[in-house]
């Protein structure tokens, strides 16, 4: 049963290699691998729910020598989210590519990306994290550039350079850790870590590296071009998953490893950067002319919300309110994953039909694709944080804790940010009404529209009503609660 942990990254890895060797069977191989990943993630989640968090040493080597993996409630939830979204994206991708050459490159790279994501969620030592981050970065860059258009390549180059700088910072931090503490195992470090200048440097480097990867303001400038110019099927993974894993790492490290370094200044720093991201992202999304650009700016804003929540978590003392907020942040992150991937997939469908994604000219296309427009609506509702979406619950807790602390400026920013989201989403949806008759067949391309729709339905509706167990999972089986 614990072996299912291995399949999480072994399956995509094998699939990636096999897809290079057998390109004609690539789709089959990869869909199979993705299903294995999905099943394994569910098994892992149920194991964690039953028996709590656990370590796993690869190949049975003893600890200290072995590469160890660690799963708890938080990682298990993220794994399941990733697996479900990856399944939807993969099904979508089977119908997306019309160019055989792009398809040949897509599947190996996409499987590698999935492998990297899963590694990052379960790695228990810093070097594994470094390797995972590099793998993630390189595959993401390659996927961004996959269609060969000049704008995509330019965006990919910038993504690569910025990503490498982030990795360098991370590596610098890791090196410092080794020189200071002689070990890279996270659990071992957390026993020894002391608050001094040297460790402060470590914390700074690692955090900066991760902030670059998660595109928090002011390290956000690479994201709009990258996500807007990549093919929609890639952008979905980038915005929903790649960014998310970096945020997950920041939460994980700051709530466990770096918790001694926490002080009011740090929490205000995160919250301030988050606030700036919310406003900057929201404002630009409102003025975006292209659908995918709108979605990219929206991601920046949503990351801002997540960091504002993190800032609040760090500010609050241990206790019930803090734990509830942690859960709220997690549901916010998960909902965003589903909603943003749904949005990008839907944008891809629209772009393929219309030949472009300029918002002002999409009215006809939106009316001819009712299911896709519906997907956009559901995803939009989740991004705004209206009920009945999972994000509504998260925002409720966020606003609640900010009000309880009396931080009225933050309250105003959160509300303004949400209103900005409403503004740009409804500006988008306003184009869906017109005088064109509804088409006879509701579904245009099943394999593309249904996964997107299911993702959106999860974000809005499913998560809202079934999220209650999340808090008990985090409580019983996680190290993040105080």
């Amino acid at each position: 049963m614990n072996d299912s942990l291995i399949w999480l990254f072994a399956a995509p890895l094998l699939a990636s290699l096999l897809s290079v060797l057998l390109p004609r069977k690539a789709v089959l191989i990869c869909l199979f691998a993705v299903s294995i990943t999905l099943i394994s993630s569910l098994i892992v989640l149920s194991t964690v729910i039953e028996s709590g968090a656990f370590y796993y040493a690869l190949s049975g080597w003893q600890t200290g020598l072995a590469i160890s993996l660690y799963v708890d409630g938080l990682s298990a939830l993220m794994l399941v989210m990733t697996a479900i979204i990856a399944t939807a994206i993969s099904i979508y991708a089977t119908a997306y590519f019309h160019n055989a050459e792009q398809q040949r490159f897509y599947w190996p790279l996409w499987m590698m990306l999935l492998c990297a994501l899963n590694v990052l969620f379960i790695a228990a030592d810093l070097f594994n994290l470094y390797v995972g981050l590099e793998l993630l970065g390189l595959t993401a860059v390659a996927l961004t550039a996959i269609d060969g258009k000049p704008e995509a390549i330019r965006a990919a180059i910038r993504y690569l350079v910025v990503g490498l700088l982030g990795s360098l910072a991370f590596l610098a931090g890791v090196s410092l850790v080794y020189t200071a503490y002689g070990t890279l195992d996270i659990a071992a470090i957390s026993e020894q870590i002391q608050v001094n200048f040297y460790s402060g440097l470590i914390v700074t480097f690692i955090t900066i590296g991760l902030i670059i990867k998660t595109a928090l303001f002011p390290m956000h400038f690479w994201l709009p071009m990258a996500h807007a110019n990549a093919p929609a099927v890639v952008s979905a993974a980038l915005s929903a998953l790649v960014i998310k894993v970096a945020f997950y790492l920041i939460i994980r490290l700051w709530l466990e490893l770096f918790s001694d370094f926490n002080n009011v200044g740090i929490s205000y720093l995160f919250s301030t950067l988050g606030a700036l991201a919310i406003l900057w992202g929201g404002w630009n999304a409102l003025h975006a002319q292209r659908l995918k650009l709108l979605a990219a700016y929206s991601t920046i804003a949503q990351i801002g919300f997540l960091f504002m929540a993190l800032g609040m978590i760090l500010l609050l003392p241990d206790g019930e309110v803090r734990n509830t907020l942690i859960g709220g942040t997690v549901i916010l992150a998960i909902t965003h994953g589903f909603a943003k991937s749904a949005l990008f997939l839907a944008a891809g469908i629209i772009q393929q039909h219309a030949g472009h994604d300029r918002i002002n000219e999409l009215s006809g296309t939106a009316q001819r694709l009712p299911i896709t427009t519906f997907t956009l609506t559901l995803a939009g509702v989740a991004l705004i944080g209206l009920p009945p979406s999972g994000a509504f619950l998260g925002k409720w807790y966020l606003i609640s804790s900010v009000v309880a602390e009396g931080l009225w400026l933050w309250v105003a920013i959160i509300l303004i940010g949400s209103l900005l989201s409403a503004a740009y989403i409804f500006r988008l949806l306003g184009h869906a009404f017109g005088r064109i008759e509804r088409p006879k067949r509701l579904l245009a391309i099943g394999r593309e529209e249904v996964p997107a729709l299911l993702l959106a339905l999860t974000a809005t509706l499913l998560l809202a009503f079934t999220a209650a167990p999340l808090w008990s999972i985090l409580e019983n089986a996680s190290g993040v609660y105080g």
Partner: protein, 96 residues
């Protein structure tokens, strides 16, 4: 006074800082890639200097493993960067 280990270590850090400065300040793509590479090399140098445990004992293998991995990663990243740059130069010759 300064041991070899310390010299290597400091040299690595200096290299790192200088290259980062270049990476941030230059507009040319190729220069950025090279600067990042050198910065990485600086980090590796520092890391290796930690591996030294004196002339009698074998060096600590873990930093060596880290550096090896890092070199491989830097290599792949550079390859990717150059491939992208080449593709871009082919498509739009006015870029550098």
């Amino acid at each position: 006074m300064l041991s070899t280990q310390l010299i290597y270590g400091i040299a690595g850090i200096v290299l790192f800082v200088l290259s980062l400065r270049v990476a941030f300040s230059t507009e040319l793509f190729l220069r950025q890639v090279l600067a990042i590479n050198v910065a990485g090399a600086g980090l590796f140098l520092t890391l290796l200097s930690v591996a030294f445990k004196g002339l009698e004992q074998p060096a600590d293998p873990i930093p060596q493993a880290l550096v090896l991995t890092g070199i491989v990663v830097a290599f792949s990243a550079t390859a990717l960067a150059l491939a992208l740059g080449k593709k871009l130069a082919e498509n739009s010759p006015d870029e550098r």
